[in-house]
Symmetry: C2
Subunit: 316 residues, 2 copies
């Protein structure tokens, strides 16, 4: 059983307080106490290749955790680390590296270590719990027909980085791509934009299409997405053209940690202005349609792409 | 390096917000938001023997987590589960057992699942984060000279249970002891007693003497503890006498999840009354002395026990 089935079939019935959002959003949100919490577990060999680069691995998993709050329009304030690890993790010089790396993250994102736990285990498994305070959050599944679909930053760089690390790809910009994999640029300055204009939002951890499918309520709406508009970096553009690779095979592979959100058409000008004023790339890439339409992706030649492949999207 | 060294040397400098209590108490307490959080990780083969009894294992680790809040005088309200596990964990019938077991715990302690994460991993590693709301908590290290030392419930049963599971012990009451290991009786009705009368408190997870040492501020105070007064069950008493075993080798082995607390002498009558009115065993077992005295344990024959053995206590 995959995670979603496990949650739907068993755990949801235990989560009958509405703060848990039926375990179907990125976070727990307790309105009465303005409390927002997200918790994620990362396993060696599954979520990160190994622990040979502790400074980078710890940055990646911390960013992936606080990303859940950012994408809901919430500033993370505290984080907890629970680390199960072997002697490799608890060596002095490794701990020093991790501490310094976390210190850099704390400065960059203005967050503070609040607690945690360290235990011994053969495989390294790390759980990060992020905590923030907010009067409201942006939910999933609240987009309306005719809303625009936006995404922050660029997509695909992180996947190229991972492919390089796995020796499945080689480029002239290896270091650039690897750095995007380990240190995704969280769009943390986008929060007020989300809070003013977004009707729904999610962070892209598993892939543009999978996460877009999670963002919308399929019973009520569908989407049209223009592949041509999906933002990628100059370096990825140059890689695609030099090796004649297809864009669709790169922009929906996950690990991007950019924010995907919807917003009513009337806010287009404001979002454009916000993007320019704050120098954050925010790109309109599609539109929400009624549920009678089939969700579709339009490729560069105006053809519809059948996106049944699970790598692209669960199912339409 | 052990956990305490890791925390002191590296992590404390990252936790400069006072809510983290310097990572030296059982919980995170954010006064401004009345927020109390505890997070703990449990590893197969380390914190629980194996996962052959999922219903019991999940009860034990959940209770061990919420115990951190109870012992601070705080009612847990929500819990998060992050589970890394193999196919054994994510089988339908196992998940059903876990769900039913959690449902029982939710009813017993009036708590609700709030979120979590499930990921694949060879070894089973589970992190539980417990959340409660409170205007104040009972801290460690706030006991004063002449305070009494109290403990709730009985000690030692859980250790016998673990020894039986490890085939190192065999008794006529095996089921009783094993049940105390898996399902420690959390003294959840003691909260108002703690909030009215306790000057400091901790839950006994690692062992009476180790946790007593953590409870006090060794620079300011010491303790005297009367072994004779340490409460044990009738079944443990009968085991000790029939096999001629020493009490000291059973009551400080941990996994008890009873609450150890200190209180000024003037509250003795009130605590006695609370204990009777609420039918909770609360036993006075010692006293806080000034730091010039050496901490000591007095055995049944009024002799001082040298408790240098790490199994009893780190060091005096």
């Amino acid at each position: 059983m995959d995670e979603i089935k496990v949650i739907n079939k068993f755990l949801t019935k235990l989560a009958y307080d509405k703060s848990s959002l039926d375990l179907k959003d990125d976070v727990f949100f307790n309105k009465k106490n303005n409390l927002v919490i997200s918790t994620d577990t990362y396993v060696e060999g599954v979520h990160f290749i190994d622990f040979k680069k502790p400074k980078l691995v710890i940055k990646k998993i911390l960013r992936s955790s606080i990303s859940d709050l950012f994408c809901k329009g919430v500033k993370p304030k505290y984080y907890f680390i629970s680390a199960a690890g072997n002697k490799l993790l608890f060596k002095k010089n490794i701990l020093k590296k991790i501490t310094n790396s976390l210190k850099e993250e704390q400065r960059k994102y203005n967050i503070i270590l609040a607690g945690g736990d360290t235990v011994f285990s053969k495989k390294i498994t790390i759980t990060i719990t992020s905590v923030g305070f907010a009067k409201k959050i942006i939910y999933r599944k609240k987009s309306l027909i005719n809303d625009d679909i936006y995404v922050s930053g660029n997509l695909g760089d992180s996947f190229v980085g991972l492919s390089i690390l796995k020796k499945k790809q080689n480029t002239k910009d290896n270091n650039y791509f690897i750095s995007k994999y380990y240190k995704p640029d969280l769009p943390h300055n986008i929060l007020s934009c989300l809070n003013y204009y977004a009707s729904s939002s999610i962070d892209i951890s598993d892939g543009l299409l999978i996460d877009l499918d999670r963002l919308i309520d399929r019973k009520k709406v569908s989407f049209i997405l223009y592949l041509d508009l999906v933002p990628i970096s100059k370096k990825l553009k140059s890689l695609l053209s030099s090796k004649k690779l297809k864009k669709i095979n790169f922009v929906s592979k996950g690990d991007d940690y950019q924010i995907l959100f919807t917003s009513p058409k009337k806010f287009r000008n404001q979002i454009n202005k916000f993007s320019k004023d704050n120098r954050i790339r925010i790109t309109r890439i599609g539109k929400i349609l009624n549920h009678k339409s089939k969700s579709k992706i339009i490729d560069e030649t105006s053809k519809e792409i059948l996106a049944k492949n699970k790598g692209y999207l669960h199912e339409f």
